[in-house]
């Protein structure tokens, strides 16, 4: 057994639809150590959410095919039955969902939603579960937890709801926490609070975190490593600073340059990625990004690039015509 908490090997998730097979995740491999924060960045349809759910073993069981391997703390997730997964969920791996409005049961008091997990999974009695739930609510920064315990989700603000979701996810002290766009619907000031909270809790619970987002700003200062996804595949992965300062894949650069920055001057013209992401059910044979890439050559349209090593350790990219490595650290 390796010392990795999570090992993902050639993971493929394919949905069977009327329109044909949709390879939402098309051969993804990476691993994750203990106490690490991995950022997974991608636009809509890049497969990041499906990837997260596949790692959790949470994808629906019909009309989907998963191949490859996900080793979570030594346990294989791919092909595991719901019964096996049930024993891993909450205790080994837990998830914070994107929209706290829809991820909490609207007709259950929030306290019940937390202590339910404690009672079912850890066999706590009513009183102990109640006490622990209050403790968790306080830990995630909910003021006057005792009265909020009896509140329904609709009575809380978005930020508070997300704190409840986090408390629920942490109830059984998982070793891995997957946060799928945990701050997307939230205001910037609340987003900062939630991200700081996640950082604190990560230390406190000594767990690993996978932070999934479309916003490079969210992972820039929070993640130790970053995976950039495009059309269900890894476009580039590496240490955070390598991705930001030594990226080789044109898509990574385009993503960085097209996002507006607070430090830009007014009327800064943004770099634009022409076109749209490909339709997954009719993927081009070559590099998925080739149709939109300014550097694409004949080869890019014909042959799909595999991940190759860059100069920095652990830094890999999938590109036939990579950008030169500007090791001096010129910023985009």
């Amino acid at each position: 057994m390796s010392d990795h908490l999570l090992e993902v090997k050639d993971l493929r998730t394919t949905f069977r639809t009327v329109a044909g097979a949709v390879p939402a995740v098309g051969g993804v491999s990476f691993d994750l150590g203990s106490n690490e924060t991995l950022g997974i960045v991608g636009e809509s349809g890049s497969g990041k959410t499906v990837l997260a759910r596949t790692i959790m073993g949470l994808q629906p069981r019909t009309n989907v095919e998963v191949t490859g391997s996900v080793l979570l703390n030594g346990h294989e997730v791919v092909g595991a039955s719901e019964r096996v997964m049930r024993s891993m969920w909450a205790t080994e791996v837990a998830m914070v969902f994107q929209d706290p409005m829809t991820s909490l049961n609207p007709v259950m008091r929030i306290g019940r939603q937390i202590d339910e997990t404690l009672r079912v999974r850890l066999g706590m009695d009513r009183r102990a579960a109640h006490a622990r739930a209050l403790e968790l609510l306080t830990m995630v920064g909910i003021p006057s937890a005792a009265s909020r315990y009896r509140a329904y989700p609709t009575e809380l603000s978005g930020g508070m709801r997300q704190r409840v979701v986090i408390a629920t996810a942490l109830a059984c002290s998982p070793k891995l926490l997957i946060a799928d766009e945990p701050t997307t619907g939230l205001d910037v000031t609340i987003q900062a609070q939630i991200l700081n909270l996640l950082d604190t809790l990560k230390q406190q619970f000594s767990m690993s975190v996978i932070l999934i987002t479309h916003d490079l700003g969210v992972v820039a200062t929070r993640a130790t490593r970053i995976i950039v996804m495009y059309a269900g595949q890894i476009a580039e992965m590496g240490d955070t600073r390598d991705i930001f300062y030594h990226h080789r894949m044109p898509y990574t650069r385009a993503l960085l340059e097209s996002s507006p920055k607070v430090s830009n001057a007014s009327h800064t013209r943004l770099a634009v990625i022409a076109g749209r992401p490909p339709n997954l059910s009719t993927m081009p044979p070559g590099c998925a990004f080739a149709p939109r890439c300014a550097y694409a050559t004949e080869q890019c349209h014909v042959e799909r690039p595999t991940l190759r090593e860059a100069a920095q350790p652990g830094h890999r990219f999938a590109c036939w015509n990579p950008l030169p490595d500007s090791s001096e650290g010129t910023r985009p």
Binding site: A24, G47, V50, P60, Q98, T184, G185, L280
Partner: protein, 287 residues
């Protein structure tokens, strides 16, 4: 925010955006029903009231495809003529219901404010009134009973239901940004109601209309059973079944054919309504 939706679009196999052959079979059957009811005078049918004592309680034969009843009347002819009552009540009542309920519902949902509050309060009270009891009560007091009165009473009783469905359907569209955009561009209210709102609520209205017709036809059948619909000897599906249930053991055809006609008719209406709803991706409207 859109991320999850976009990705999940691939999760479920997309609902088939086809109406399917069964849908068209149902449409065909209904069309046949309507045509037969309209063309009774042209069709080579025996007078449904003509009593031929030579063939009493006969089973299906070449002369009488559906057989005859205890008075020697031709069942096929009576079933076809009976459908006229069902169709008249079903369509007539729904014309009244939609004629009043639909414009009011659309207007209330689009205008909001006081008009909406007032109308909705009135309709709320009417809705709480058990419509069936109201219909039975009015029909039994408002003598003599005629088909027209039946249609008017059922039609008026359905107004509040139609209003509620149309209002909530309109409301879900009227709050969309494209309606605001149209307002902002200076489109008149009339234009907005007809061009932006109507096309979007039409699928809901049509499928509700079909189910409404089915409900009214069932109700007419029940009323006929209770002797509150058209008076015999005028045939209607309901009173045909009712009249012959006592002789059912001797001549089951008497019950089977009108029942079959009624059930098939309802089945087609329900099926078409159901398919249309899923075709236009209308979430289940509470009836």
């Amino acid at each position: 925010m859109t991320d999850l939706l976009d990705e999940q679009a691939g999760f479920e196999p997309l609902a088939e955006r086809r109406l399917g052959p069964l849908f068209w079979i149902c449409v065909g059957w209904l069309t046949l029903n309507v045509l037969a009811a309209l063309l009774t005078n042209v069709l080579p049918l025996v007078n449904p009231l003509y009593q031929n004592y030579n063939v009493i309680n006969a089973g299906p034969s070449l002369h009488h495809l559906f057989g005859t009843d205890d008075l020697g009347r031709d069942i096929l002819s009576r079933v076809v003529f009976g459908s006229r009552v069902s169709l008249a009540v079903g369509s007539g009542a729904m014309i009244i219901g939609f004629g009043i309920g639909m414009p009011l519902g659309m207007l209330a949902a689009y205008r909001r404010g006081r008009l909406d509050a007032m109308l909705t309060a009135v309709m709320y009270v009417l809705l709480a009134f058990p419509a069936i009891i109201a219909v039975i009560a009015v029909i039994s007091f408002w003598t003599p009973r005629t088909l027209l009165k039946l249609i008017i009473v059922i039609g008026l009783a359905s107004v509040s239901l139609v209003y509620r469905v149309i209002r909530s359907a309109t409301l879900s569209v009227a709050t969309k940004d494209f309606v605001t955009a149209a307002k902002v561009q200076g489109s008149t209210d009339r234009r907005i109601l007809l061009r932006e709102l109507l096309p979007n609520i039409a699928p809901i209205a049509v499928s509700f209309l079909l189910i409404g017709v089915a409900t009214v036809v069932t109700l007419e059948g029940a009323l006929a059973f209770l002797g509150l619909s058209v008076n015999p000897p005028t045939p209607s599906w309901g009173n045909m079944i009712n009249e012959s249930r006592t002789v059912m053991a001797q001549n089951p055809w008497l019950v089977i054919f009108p029942s079959l006609a009624l059930c098939l008719f309802l089945l087609c209406l329900n099926f078409i309504g159901d398919r249309l709803r899923s075709y236009f991706d209308v979430t289940e409207v509470k009836l």
